[in-house]
């Protein structure tokens, strides 16, 4: 269970105009602008839910994920994930979560994937039986058998993403954060990843929070959608609420962004 209550977070961003002269000036007196990345964000997510977290670029999606995964400390507000405050009890908290950053790898680049998995087993102190069981299951469902022996750098993007998802589920987390998991994938890989996430949720009751710009991901996976813009939660509803506008979902969402002026 995830509870976020009035979470605020702002950043200081240095600002200057273009040009070399300005760059020199900024060296001595720098002007800062405070940007509110999150402005009183509140929501509650129950166990086993699949939630799509959407919003335009720079809306505060990554900041939210970072706070929920214990990387970032907010300026104010309360947040409880399974009864723990993520940034205060980092080690205990992250044992229960899996995080996939679509744009970054967590596999060791030059060694076969299975070596990375073995190392993760020790990092998470997974018992031998659990590891064997989870590995077998993931290998079958994600079709990893041939990939495990290949070094990560030689995998295609789609193959690597399957291995990444496998890597973040080895320790059987109750909660899974997916940050743009289908970015850059071809149609076949996308479908495979989606189908796997659905099954994981159904069979293990894993809570999934998904950020994406791909509305088909949202359509295929989630029933509930949280729309965030300029650091505020603008809408918290079902896919049908968004669909009410009718027509193509991408167009509808674009119109929503325009309506909210974000």
């Amino acid at each position: 269970m995830i509870m976020m209550n009035d979470i605020c977070k702002s950043y200081h961003v240095a600002k200057r105009n273009a040009g070399f002269k300005e760059a020199c000036r900024a060296l001595f007196c720098r002007e800062y602008e405070t940007i509110k990345a999150l402005d009183r964000v509140s929501f509650t997510i129950a166990d086993g839910e699949m939630v799509g977290y959407i919003g335009p670029n720079g809306a505060g999606k990554s900041s939210t994920i970072k706070i929920l995964s214990g990387i970032l400390t907010p300026d104010g507000g309360a947040c409880l994930v399974n009864g723990r405050t993520p940034w205060k009890e980092r080690v205990d908290h992250v044992r229960d979560i899996g995080v996939v950053f679509g744009q970054r790898t967590q596999l060791w680049w030059d060694v076969p994937v299975i070596d990375s998995y073995d190392l993760l087993k020790d990092i998470y102190s997974i018992s031998k039986e659990t590891y064997k069981h989870n590995l077998e299951e993931l290998t079958e469902l994600l079709d990893l058998k041939e990939l495990l022996k290949t070094p990560a750098r030689q995998l295609s993007l789609g193959q690597r993403m399957r291995c990444e998802i496998g890597a973040s589920l080895l320790h059987g987390p109750k909660l899974l954060f997916l940050d743009e998991p289908t970015i850059g994938l071809d149609a076949v890989s996308k479908l495979a990843v989606r189908e796997f996430i659905l099954r994981q949720n159904e069979e293990h009751g894993t809570t999934v929070i998904l950020t994406t710009h791909d509305m088909q991901d949202i359509e295929a996976l989630t029933r509930r959608i949280i729309l965030i813009g300029k650091g505020r939660v603008l809408m918290d509803g079902s896919l049908e609420d968004i669909r009410r506008g009718g027509g193509n979902i991408d167009q509808t969402v674009a119109r929503l962004y325009r309506d909210y002026d974000i």
Partner: protein
């Protein structure tokens, strides 16, 4: 603790496996490492062609001093390479990944880089040490052997502290700071000679600010039989205390990272 050491060993084995993927690059790096410090050695060698002693130390004594100091430095660099290259870890977002794993941050950063190619320099340090040991006319008894062990261990911990402090500064600047290199790579060069030969002020700096003197000059005098006070033997252990404020700075840096993001 035992679990941590075991995990570190696993990290190192993955690093070594990765290195073996690039055999030629590895061999070249080993050779390069050997040659760079061989340069320093040559400089010293030619110096002693002209002068028979520097600051009251003979050629063999300086070789011994350099050998020990270089061993300590190389040991630290080999292990703490993750902190030496920490700015890239932060910039590439690898540190976010470190934060979402249920292990100590220092342990994970240590495990993220292990420079086996430093073995080239280590070899040279050992050869110089053996040469200095046999020609400097020390009568080797138990306290002398212990002194050497303390000097290498204390020196390694000292350099580890400097690398750690340098990494902590990356949290504030995001860039690696050139000034830190003065205290690591610079010190490696100027530690060729016992720091006492540079005069009173430098020695004072090397005693109270960054205690190079405690792992090099003071115990060296005891080793060479120039002084007999027993405290000199244990001076390197005192230098290890330097790591405490460095760790403090690291903690402050981590807290800043959590509140500011990258």
């Amino acid at each position: 603790m035992r679990d941590g050491i075991f995990l570190y060993g696993h990290y190192v084995s993955v690093q070594i496996k990765s290195m073996m993927q690039y055999k030629k690059s590895f061999m070249l790096a080993v050779m390069g490492q050997f040659l760079t410090s061989f340069n320093t050695f040559l400089g010293m060698f030619f110096m002693f062609q002209r002068f028979s002693a520097v600051g009251g130390f003979t050629y063999s004594q300086v070789v011994l001093c350099f050998g020990i100091f270089l061993m300590a430095f190389t040991l630290a660099e080999c292990v703490a390479r993750g902190f030496d290259t920490f700015s890239s870890i932060v910039r590439k977002g690898e540190f976010d990944r470190v934060m979402v794993r249920p292990r100590g941050l220092v342990l994970q950063v240590l495990g993220s880089r292990f420079e086996l190619s430093r073995i080239g320099r280590m070899l040279q340090a050992v050869v110089m040490f053996i040469y200095g040991m046999r020609t400097s006319g020390i009568c080797w008894d138990m306290p002398r052997v212990m002194t050497v062990v303390f000097m290498v261990a204390g020196g390694a911990v000292l350099f580890f502290g400097i690398f750690l402090a340098g990494a902590a500064l990356c949290f504030f600047t995001l860039e690696s700071l050139e000034i830190v290199n003065i205290f690591t790579y610079g010190a490696r060069e100027f530690g060729t000679y016992p720091v006492g030969v540079y005069g009173k002020h430098i020695l004072r700096f090397c005693t109270f600010v960054v205690p190079y003197g405690l792992v090099q000059y003071y115990p060296l005098l005891f080793l060479l039989g120039k002084r007999e006070e027993v405290w000199r033997m244990f001076a390197p252990l005192l230098a290890a205390v330097f790591v405490v404020p460095c760790y403090g700075l690291w903690r402050v840096g981590v807290r800043r990272y959590q509140s500011a993001g990258s």
